[in-house]
Symmetry: C2
Subunit: 424 residues, 2 copies
Amino acid sequence: MIHPTTRVLAAELPGHVGEEVEISGWLHRRRGLKSVTFLVIRDRSGLAQVVAGPGVDFPEETVLRVRATVTANPQAPDGIELTGPEFTVLSGLAVPPPVSLFRPTVPAALPVILDSAPVTLRHPRLAAVHRISAASVAGFRGTLDELGFTEIQTPKVVSSATESGANVFKLDWFGSTAYLAQSPQFFKQTMVGVFERVYETGPVFRAEPHDTARHLAQYTSLDAELGFITDHRDVMAVVREAVAGMTAAVAGRAAGAVESLAVKLPEVPAEIPQVHFAEAMRMLGTDEPDLAPAHERWLSEWALREHGSEFLFVVGYPMAKRPFYTHPDPARPAYSNSFDLLFRGLELVTGGQRLHRHEDYLAALAARGEPVEPYASYLQAFAHGMPPHGGFALGLERWTARLTGADNVRRTTLFPRDLHRLTP
Amino acid sequence: MIHPTTRVLAAELPGHVGEEVEISGWLHRRRGLKSVTFLVIRDRSGLAQVVAGPGVDFPEETVLRVRATVTANPQAPDGIELTGPEFTVLSGLAVPPPVSLFRPTVPAALPVILDSAPVTLRHPRLAAVHRISAASVAGFRGTLDELGFTEIQTPKVVSSATESGANVFKLDWFGSTAYLAQSPQFFKQTMVGVFERVYETGPVFRAEPHDTARHLAQYTSLDAELGFITDHRDVMAVVREAVAGMTAAVAGRAAGAVESLAVKLPEVPAEIPQVHFAEAMRMLGTDEPDLAPAHERWLSEWALREHGSEFLFVVGYPMAKRPFYTHPDPARPAYSNSFDLLFRGLELVTGGQRLHRHEDYLAALAARGEPVEPYASYLQAFAHGMPPHGGFALGLERWTARLTGADNVRRTTLFPRDLHRLTP
């Protein structure tokens, strides 16, 4: 038996009108009038109003069990209230909450919210963001499971800072130096040789010196990689399915959160529009071989205007701007078979086709003047036959921020880590 | 379109008899006879036999696309073979495989397997272990989703080594010292205050100086925590559901792996038998307040003999042996409301009821002579009202090892990390 008590959730009360039931939760709001006290109880399913006599004076956030009768009352929220209550205090307070958790909007600035996250996240609007995040991850996994992918768990500590020399965290590993993994890139590629199609949903670490609203030092990367592709377009097709599956899961599994935050879920077109990097540069009237945040916003607006899509693939980034394992475009070798997916003005996904022949890896490293030795275990896979493959990584916090309209990715992860923040 | 080609998987061939199809995969095995060459192609779904003319001499592990006719032949494996093949080499080899991947058992010792994991894991028996692991995690999540849990992602880098002073990895965090998280314990408890029921499936880090067959420096912890419990027995009920859900998911989602490894899945009793720690000590005839590995094996055998169960809860560990946040047994305060779950001779799960009142935390820390300051953010949650709660952690690798009969947990994670191993 999971519930040895007869606890009923707030959301289940309409099915119990006329019955005496037991609910449990936090005292969300108390309003004492002359002859009556209104108490709102918050549990994981929502809110319930309790009507008690005068002078009931538990402080807000007290944890209560309430035995009472479910009574229909058209004037009560949702037409239901609990009457004739008996209270049991499960846990009292040592101090009052740092902010009023019952107000419709969150009455605090971001640093206050983050410093007191164990308490402030109880605010239903703040918690809703994380319910949307959880539903998104479930949608990602469910979609890829359907497509024959296998979930993997890879090391978060690696022996060399190979993928990119900068921005890595250094670690003392039983007396020798190691690094936190910046991505599962090498591992997921290698595992294409075993499972063909793999994904991982886990933490990655970037020692980002940037203190911006869109960078975190730890974030959740939704990674996938698949073999036996023709080129990057097969990867883009999987990205489209993943994003559609995530959207559907948010709509289904986090419907209450979507409603309470008035989230406008995107339409995911059957085919997401795309523009070549060179064409994007032409439209933007720039010749810098990179997209600045303002460029990404402009392109997103263009896609919405021209194609009615909140998503846009930018394909064919210059090889010089992509990592050594990137596969060139056979027709225009200065450009790559890679892409970014822009969503509501922000880069959400990076992906592409990878090299798959051992000799191409050796040549790519030589061309960049890099030694082979630090890549020895990675290159092992390619020395033993690897199919054409590619993959992508989607930043969970950026996705959640775009969906919920958060002005800072720090609002989309429970306990952000950055240049200045290592607690709570 | 996910598959722009007409690729058919090996397992789908019986539905295509008489047709010309295209399969792709690795050349698993080649046997050249005088007048004929047999080639076995391996893809993510299984194996397919191709019959070609004499002299076809691709080396094993070559990545091939094969266009051929699906032909029924009672003498072929599964009664099907591909005839009249045309081959396209997608990728050749730089060097031959370090071990023969086509042999029914793995012809290599553990260090060889681990050193060349990017290649050796292609062996179907080795890959099968990881398919079982993936299915187990999916079963864990699915079960807890059904029970109203919310998935969370918590920081893997923390500011102080509070949970246990020893065995932590030290990190350089933008110039100051930080630590890899040994568990999501504090975060998941805190989040009971927000979501009531939470789980996380992610990496944890232990700087274990032990070089044993059951310790890893990074492993995957399946963590859950739930509020509004009566005591630890409500947590044990959820453990039972989780383990049953994991077993069912392995049976359903990894049926091929279960069959190929001849895994005997456990029966999960509706109620898992339990024994009190004090009674276990009495039966074992020991008075050391701890269970040695030999004790765990003996107790598991006892449970199988007496209760016909491969699972056994040992409840009521001495308070002195449990962390400060452990809830005592109100009836016998030297013992705790905590438990371990033994499975096939090994401790698989640790869990219990936690303290939930702020004043009890202050008293527990004072009794152990510990300062309050390093726990400030954790204690914040309890200062603002927390319900009676508890939770558990299940070690994924130990579970997979017990299921598959692996003699070492290093066989159950793709790229193990330990005292001596930081690559591949």
